[in-house]
Every structure is written in structure tokens, then in C-alpha cells.
Symmetry: C2
Subunit: 325 residues, 2 copies
Amino acid sequence: MPVVVPLAEIKKALAAIDPIPLIEEGFVAYSRGEVVVPPVGELVFNDPPGDVHIKYGYIKGDDFYVIKIASGFYDNPKLGLPSGDGLMLVFSRKTGVLEAILLDEGYLTNLRTAVAGAVVAKYLAPREVTAVGIVGAGVQGRMQLDWLRRVRKFEEAVVWGVNEEELVAYRRDMESPGLKIRTTLRAEKVAAAANLIVTCTPATAPVLKAEWIRPGTHITAVGSDTAAKQELDAAILARADRVVVDSLSQSELRGEVYQAVNAGAIGRDRLVELGRVIGDQKLWRASESETTVADLTGVAVQDIQISKAVWLAIRPAVWSAPKAT
Amino acid sequence: MPVVVPLAEIKKALAAIDPIPLIEEGFVAYSRGEVVVPPVGELVFNDPPGDVHIKYGYIKGDDFYVIKIASGFYDNPKLGLPSGDGLMLVFSRKTGVLEAILLDEGYLTNLRTAVAGAVVAKYLAPREVTAVGIVGAGVQGRMQLDWLRRVRKFEEAVVWGVNEEELVAYRRDMESPGLKIRTTLRAEKVAAAANLIVTCTPATAPVLKAEWIRPGTHITAVGSDTAAKQELDAAILARADRVVVDSLSQSELRGEVYQAVNAGAIGRDRLVELGRVIGDQKLWRASESETTVADLTGVAVQDIQISKAVWLAIRPAVWSAPKAT
């Protein structure tokens, strides 16, 4: 029988795991072609609006394959339910035996997404951060800010949200003696103050405009993971000195790059994959004046790396292989 | 929290369910375009050999979507493990909340496959069955024989297997006062005696040859569900009066029809979808002399129908919706 691991146990296991190097190694392996990641499985619903993504695959030579299911149902908060949900399944690569059902309720997806934001910032953000900009005051907007503190020093964050209530809650949750939170309903205020911006909304029309962005800014867009979603004006990508994607193949079908290429704003020859950036110092930010963009659609290798680490931490105490009959 | 349902509970729930009309309704809805079934997700492994299929989707207007994962790892029996494994996940279509994890260990996939074989036979098999032929003496070879008894009368089955041990076991398990089991290591003996044949092997080269097949025979091929697997000589499809598939779109990528079309043996214009056959008496077997073939690659709508029925049977006693926070 597979071991069913509830979220509380997953969080306990994570306390002893540093996911940044894990996610970095995952991206590097992915860009080297060492990871089998089939196209994302997808269901998109209209009434009520929701989407479900199935991401799966394995690292060649590894002991496990992983299937991750994550959903966003954006009217759920009206029912008092979180919009995100999900689980990760860890299987033996030798026998297909399902070893673990990680009932992470979308937490591991949120975590690996936030960690990817930190990984991007480590290589592409300016050294001197005037302020961090967070566009989207939800769960991911909180986690991105937390993880950016692991790779850059900053004392202020400017946060855009869709209403005052969520901004008040954001400031209440996130402000601390070392970190001032300013909130706004006008996204241009984020761009005016911040030179390290993360967008994490389910927007289907640009929230940030190109003319607002100051030279020397880095923007990571993590919200757009379908063909319909878009957070950045295509001209932002066109004007950037560098456009990085987590997955070249996924960027053909979804995300900011998909939108910008479709609009004729950029050519695919300008794209560099994150795993290559990590492994090649020449692709890191070269000066404080560069403007850079990273478009993250979320790759199964992140799910593989994080779920495997959690399971390997828990496994010795709980796993017994199925008995031969 | 989702309800985790072990196989024993699933089997209890099935005792009160007649899956034949459920699977029929599923195929009819599918062929009418009322079911959203994205392309099958797939992982194929070589060392040891195995494949994993992710089938998922929903019936429009329904309360649930279903994600099914099933694997075949063909060296598992050497380790004393069954080759097939799997689980089905039932989610609320309105919120994305995972309601049930059906740990069916591949049983529901085996069941819905066997039921599909019975549905096909109901409409396409000869009325007078001289003997049933079963090619492949594994679990599916047993279940197909069981379910064929629901739709046709017969007193003999001729069973081909890869070795005497499995054939002895098959006869021991399946022979009964009303049913004589003959076994053989030569597949042509199956074709010589039977006019209703089901192939259920993981073969990658034809097991049945066209010259062996007698006029008036119906063959259902259920084993081939990847691009590499093949059980039937392409000429069998070429010579058939009628070639039925469970899914036109899947038959472009996998199964016997994929092989036969690739070989130039048949054109796609000859194919009819099973859901259309069920709904249109003109497409049923017209005479005892027709030779017919059905190629089943397995469609998510079968998984949706069977898992939904199991969950609806169990749900009232165990389910409590997540509380609004």
C-alpha cells in the first residue's frame, strides 16, 4: 500500500531540506536533456473557471518517477476554499509501484515555484535591490517574497493587489521589523519603486506595461501557465536585454513568451533556458543596468525534485515494499 | 481530506454495480463529443520494460473529473509482483477538490477493459459462438472470458499462452461444469476453433495471422495500447468487413489500427467508433458470415464511468466536503 502523507507531515520533512540547490540541479539536468518530461496534461474549465495541470516525468537513471496534479479554481475563495489544490505521486521507476501519495494541497507546487523565483533572482536580479515588487497579493505573492530574502538583501517591498482587503491582509502577514511593506492598487507604483519584480497573478491581460519598467529591473513572471494567461506587456519582453524561460518547449505553448512570440514582439532565438543560465556564468546578469525577464511556466523536474526529497526524508521510517507473492 | 479507498472496498462497491450499461453510455457520450478527453499521457521505460498511461477527462455537465494512472511493468512477475498497477482519482469539477483516491491496483482498468470487450461482443460477435478464443492467459484473458459470458452463450474456450505453466493455471482457475477450457501454445489453434477471439497480450509483433482467421469471426484486440505494441497481422484488419475502434483520435497514435494504417493495409475512412456502433443498429453485425475487428486502446471515459460509479456508491457513507474557512 502506498504511504499517504498529509500536508503537516510534508511540512515537517521540509524543515530539514534546502530546496534551492535541489531545484537548481533539476533545472540544470533538464536543460542538459537528462530529464524526461512529456507535454503538460491540462483540463481547462469555464463555469466555474478552473484549470488542472498534470506534470510528470523522471530524471534518467533515477529510482522514481513522479506525477503531479495541481489545480486552480479561482472562484473557490467565494466558497471559503483555497483556489489552489494538488497532490504528488511518487512511483518506483523499476516496478511502477506507487510508494507515496503526497497530499500537499498544492503547497509543494507553490514552494517549488517560489524557490524557482529565488533561483532566477540569484543569477539575474540586480545586486542592489531598491525594493522588491510583488504583483499579486495571494499565497504565491507571499512565498516569493519569503524566498527572495534567501538570495538578496532588501528592506522594502511594494505589493500590488486587486483590493484593499487582500493588501491589508498581506501587510499584516508579511511585514516584519526588517521589512517594510507598502501596498498599492496601481501596478505602476510597483514598477516605479522596485527593480526586482515578481508577478504572480492569474491575469489574462497584461498587469505591467513596458513604459513603467525602469532600466536595470529584473522581472520574473510566474503566474501565466496556460495559453490564455498573460501578466506582462509583450513589449517588456521585446525591450529586455535577456529573456530566460524555465522550459523552451513549454514556452511554445503557454506563458508570457508564448504571448510575446505570437504578438511578433520577440523571436524564439532570443530565449535562453534557466538550466543553461545556472550552469554558465556568462549568462548571469552582467551589469546593474541590464533589464531582464524570466518566464516560468513550471516544469515537472521541479515537482520531481521536491517530492523526491520529501519522500526520501520520510521513507525510511514508513515504507515497506510490497511483498512478493 | 480525500477518502482513500482500498481495492477490497472497491470490489464491495462493484458488487451492486452493473458496468455494462455504464461503459456503453460512456462510449456513446464520447462518440457524440460530450466527453473531454485530452491525449493520453505516457511514460515508456526500457530497463526494465514498462509503460505508464495517464488517462483523464470529464463528461460535459458532470460533477466530477477523473485522472487515472495505470502501469504495466512486464518483468514484475519475476519479482513476485503483478505487472499491472494503478489508481484513479476523482475530483469535484466545481472546486478541484480531490474527493477520492481509488487504490484499485489496476483492477478497475482491467474491469473496464473486460467490460468493453463484452460491449463490443454484444454488437459485433456472431450470435452462435462455436468457441471463444483467448490469446493471452493473464489476468485480462481471464476477465474477458468472464465478461463474454454475460453477452453470449458458449461451452468452450480455446486459450493460447506463452508457456504450459500459465495455461495450466488458467484452466485450473477458469474451467467450470458449463465451460470447457482447451489450451494451446500454437495461436493458429485458437483461430481454427473460435469465432469470437479476444487478444490481450503485450505483444510487439503479430500473434494472429490473417490466413488463420475463418470467415464469420469477430476479433477484439485489447492488448495494444502504445505505438510499439501489435497483436494482429495488419492483413486481418485489411480483410475485415468492419473495423471498429473505441477512439478514432487515439487510433491515430497507438494500437492495431495505428499499425495497419502505417503499413498501408487500411485507410482511416474504414473506421467506425464504438459509441456510434452502439447507438446505430445499422452498424451492428449484419450476418453470421461477416468478419469483424475491434481495436480497443482504452479511453478515459471508461475510467470516468467506472470510478464515478464506485465513488457514488461509497460516497454517502464516508464523504464530508472540506469546510469553508
